[in-house]
């Protein structure tokens, strides 16, 4: 039986990809950020997950305004890094896990989530930057990936409660897949940042850390945080944190924190990073 063994939360700032691609990860600016991921890189090497369900948002890359799915799951065999305006990142293609992805897609629809199935798309920094943070610069990514794209651009984005609930449903779906697979789920995006308007540059260390606190342990209070609170407290793009709730929902009733890191700033953004494991309860 497949099982979700851990959850990872992480920012996915495009500048981190630039730092990796240009070999600047140890300089004064980026050093403190990448050092926070060193523990996780070693841990991933030990864990050797077979599959990562990678919750991210497309930043006007694969989806333009012609079609805007709320929840889209990648059921394809392979995804290429997208050209976001300066050429594609020089990272390996991402290999899918079509068997598990289709199983999850089918299970979620029966479970009354209104999924959009995707078979072909290019993936942007939202997906490739976390890969670089966790796995560095291999010739080939050491895991298969199920891209799980959430609309957090056009309003309304899905409620926190709906995100948490679909995480719970993903857990049920993974546990009903017969093959023995070590599956992780990553929630990416955030933390506080605002990329637009005169209020740009807003960061909120205190709120971000309260949010990370809320994902550890057995409280599900975070699923009820309204959108307006993310926006007021953490900037317009802080709303990306709803994607962490999908990861948290998929870990079950209670979690334990294995690693935690927070740094301000990277470009316009607060970098947060959290590694959780499910606590098995009775």
């Amino acid at each position: 039986m497949a099982r979700i063994t851990a959850g990872v939360g992480s920012s996915h700032v495009p500048l981190l990809g630039v730092a990796v691609d240009q070999g600047k990860t140890e300089d004064d600016y980026f050093g403190p950020i990448f050092q926070g991921y060193e523990w996780t890189k070693r841990w991933e090497e030990e864990q050797k997950p077979d599959v990562v369900i990678l919750v991210f948002n497309d930043h006007a890359t694969a989806f333009d305004m012609k079609i805007v799915p709320t929840f889209a799951i990648g059921c394809g065999e392979r995804y290429k890094p997208a050209d976001e305006g300066w050429g594609p990142r020089p990272v390996p293609d991402v290999e899918g896990h079509a068997d598990l992805a289709w199983h999850i897609a089918q299970s979620l629809i029966l479970d009354e989530f209104d999924m959009t199935i995707i078979n072909e798309m290019d993936v942007d920094h939202g997906l490739t930057v976390p890969m670089s943070m966790m796995f560095g610069t291999p010739d080939r990514w050491p895991v298969k990936v199920i891209p799980f794209a959430v609309n957090v651009v056009t309003y309304p984005v899905p409620t926190g409660n709906r995100c948490w609930a679909i995480g719970e449903a993903i857990r049920r779906a993974v546990e009903s897949f017969p093959e023995d697979l070590n599956v992780q789920i990553w929630g990416t995006g955030g933390m506080s940042h605002q990329l637009q308007g005169p209020r740009a540059g807003l960061l909120n260390r205190e709120w971000d850390n309260q949010f990370m606190d809320a994902l550890i342990g057995d409280s599900d209070a975070a699923r009820r945080i309204p959108h307006i609170e993310y926006l007021r407290e953490t900037g317009s793009e802080g709303i990306e944190m709803v994607m962490w709730l999908i990861m948290r929902g998929a870990l079950g009733k209670e979690t334990r924190c294995l690693h935690r890191h927070y740094h301000i700033p990277c470009s316009n953004t607060a970098i947060g990073h959290l590694v959780l494991e499910p606590v098995e309860t009775g």
Binding site: A60, A221, I228, E237
Partner: protein, 140 residues
Amino acid sequence: MTSDAGPTPDIHEYLAQLEDIPGTRIYTAARARRGYHINQFAMSLMTEDNRARFRADERAYLDEWPIDEAAKQALLRRDYNALLDLGGNIYFLSKLFSTDGISFAEAVSTMTDMSFPEYRDMMLRGGRSALGNRSIKGGY
């Protein structure tokens, strides 16, 4: 965190709240509809061919799109605050500043009242505080 907020507000109340944030344009349906072709134009800059054609003659490239004159002028001026008011979305517009070869932080700084070095310094000092920046009506 207001961890036990009540039930989801109705859509009218929800949308009204989104307009109550200082210096911020949330990308609602109203903006998405208004800025539709601005954003679709920006998406077109995701191939090197189109970027080269745009760089060679920005005006001619823009004239291929059903975008009104005010928006074309704002695009030519790279006036991102004006473009937000016209329904542009920053993730779409990022294809334009990537085409220009400037960083996300520099492009973002042009929407504030700071120079890029001032903006960068603010970020290094911990960023803009939420204090007083949360609500127009509430002033908190």
